[in-house]
Subunit: 244 residues, 4 copies
Amino acid sequence: MAKTYTPEEAEALVHSHDPEHPANLICDLCREFYKLGWVTGTGGGISIRKDDVVYLAPSGVQKERIKPEHIFVLPFAQSSVPKPGSKRDFIRIPSKKGLNESQCTPLFWNAFTMREAGACIHTHSQHAVLLTLLLPRDAPSFRISHQEMIKGVRLGGVGKTLKFFETLEVPIIDNTAFEEDLTEGMAAAMARYPDAPAILVRRHGVYVWGNTWEQAKTQAECLDYLFEIACKMIQNKIPLEGDT
Amino acid sequence: MAKTYTPEEAEALVHSHDPEHPANLICDLCREFYKLGWVTGTGGGISIRKDDVVYLAPSGVQKERIKPEHIFVLPFAQSSVPKPGSKRDFIRIPSKKGLNESQCTPLFWNAFTMREAGACIHTHSQHAVLLTLLLPRDAPSFRISHQEMIKGVRLGGVGKTLKFFETLEVPIIDNTAFEEDLTEGMAAAMARYPDAPAILVRRHGVYVWGNTWEQAKTQAECLDYLFEIACKMIQNKIPLEGDT
Amino acid sequence: MAKTYTPEEAEALVHSHDPEHPANLICDLCREFYKLGWVTGTGGGISIRKDDVVYLAPSGVQKERIKPEHIFVLPFAQSSVPKPGSKRDFIRIPSKKGLNESQCTPLFWNAFTMREAGACIHTHSQHAVLLTLLLPRDAPSFRISHQEMIKGVRLGGVGKTLKFFETLEVPIIDNTAFEEDLTEGMAAAMARYPDAPAILVRRHGVYVWGNTWEQAKTQAECLDYLFEIACKMIQNKIPLEGDT
Amino acid sequence: MAKTYTPEEAEALVHSHDPEHPANLICDLCREFYKLGWVTGTGGGISIRKDDVVYLAPSGVQKERIKPEHIFVLPFAQSSVPKPGSKRDFIRIPSKKGLNESQCTPLFWNAFTMREAGACIHTHSQHAVLLTLLLPRDAPSFRISHQEMIKGVRLGGVGKTLKFFETLEVPIIDNTAFEEDLTEGMAAAMARYPDAPAILVRRHGVYVWGNTWEQAKTQAECLDYLFEIACKMIQNKIPLEGDT
């Protein structure tokens, strides 16, 4: 059974002087991601799991201006796995008003439950989107090898790091009208590609996860770098795999 | 009849400790827009309407260095609708000297009166300008569909958000020698395209509005993202509509 | 005869609490220009003339880390016009040691004497350099019309602003082995093109000036914008002049 | 024989109020390099040699978030030259825990021993990587002339600056599975190209050094600028050498 929180305990969940507290980190990282062009127009974000709760940014707010009191907190107990479209058991934080929960919640949950990830990042990076447009319409995945930055990416997002000459493979799924409806497609792709460290969503962006927020961020940066160089390689007719 | 202000009341209109006060916000947002390349060379800006007055940045000043005391304030009463070329009834703020009012005023007013917008942003973003150059010379509008970022844009700029698979349409009007002379062309395009959330001006930039400054900024970011990805799609011969 | 300065008077020339003092502005603006990619690798800079002296950044230092005490001050009296290769009559500031004067001095002086400019900016912007490489080898100048940003540029850099449909023309001169040796070529181009607001140097960068530092900066931004859009237009085979 | 340090002396090696102390500089510069896209995804970094010790950033940490207490210090005595794969004689700093030493150590050492460099920078800049992909597969080096920014680069990285019309040559070596295994290839290229100021590593990045951290940084910026403009020149079929 999920733990219950007094109003004071609930409020305390998002207020800390520790800059590494998830409620502070999410604000800080969203500001950084904004500068990278990953979360403009209120899109994208990051969710961090710590102990038995998950911290999430709200929906439809300017990600570079989020404050800790805007953060949603959801118990991680299996009984509370959020179903797309369902009402979620967010921990009620008295000072928070007038914000909506993110439609990304069940997608982040895929990473938490299927990979035991500690953090999951969603970006609308143009490099990710352009890559899904430059690859053939029926390409099931993005594949690249022989790039130093591959070495910053982990098997399945949470395992051993890949080697320079190994092929990184990131599945691509089609976008849906409602973000929540991506949940099943993302889960299916994660099951089919157990070594994939991320899921690309065509004409939309990417979901990346890691054991910790540091690893999730490192992998998001490495992958974004690879998406960018891959776009340039395709435009210059350089093969993405091999070292010719 | 428009309200009259004592010198102290007028001065108070642009001085506040609240970072969300329009006079402070305009300065803050212009600094952010400068980093995005939207308002370099003193071009572009943002106007915010609050209660019965409109706040505007002055003309010909470095937008990233504006201070609250530089902001112009104009009553929103219909009697004071600014005509292009006419003298405007700015509220006289004693401490302000030597600045010129913006030629954009009547264009911002189009958004305030025809859409009841709460804020209007004008950018010289290269993505907007390049897009008007890459599209056929006689294209009456920019049309794009099947992009996640479309979901951050509202019908007419102030209504319901668009859906992923819906077509966003932004009319393009020709530029004129004097910015004020765009007023009629912009109004005509807004009347012809009631669902348009913005007006592109060929070889010049874009006007974007919203119910609030947050929504105007969100839409300006989503549209700029779409202008940028559209330029890349055209250069790579990828159709802007459909999902092929 | 040039004024003489006591050590205290000389020291005072570069120390002020006023952020708009030239010695402070040069440091501030160089930091901003660095972010724009205009002065990386110690290249480029800005010189400001105020009253009877000229302020210049030193040579070969990281422009984003300059401090006021690094600034050189040179009397503007005609008797002290710096000749390329000659020793200059810098005002001796006791606290300054171990820095070299900039080879750009006589080039800045061209703007001060031939246009009575109050400030001159030199950038190594890639947009300027790429433009000189994309234009035909024998093109005597860069010409562009029908761009809104042209309206931020002044005739001769110091006169009336240009109109949207007017043609902006910036002469291009060849680079030389030593920066000082550009002095004559720049002066000849300025004499031949009295309306030019800047001089492009092939495979090197651009010199831009204005009546004040604000106008010089505004024009440097407008021109850099136009160089960038022109590169994109050439690469997409869009004519730089006219509105077809 | 290498000097021994008391715990207090060791701790003092990385704690200083002087912003120019290597332990502070490395943190500061890594933050700057991150903004340039040189060290994203924990890759890249800078090593500074001062007196008889070398300061290095740790491996696998976010370079923009390094703190002075994370810096590794290694004696520069010849007896302690780090062999790839060997255990290194880092000075034990009591407060440092849980960080790994960088695999780049022996590569930085190449610059310190073969060129008597005072600092060495390693970046994963996309301009460097794309350049190695755009040049012919069997090109032994990158060559460019007639660019102003060449004048910021020194012969062998530590000698006289090059001239505008001289040809800069940077050898390109193949990448290896483990970063340490680049040591020999880099040393061989440095021996074969004594005038080279840097070594490009195909599909990986670049190593740049200089007499001081300022010169290393200046050269890293000039070279990165040249890599970028060279990519654009190749894509526009403009020869990299000569002035045609």
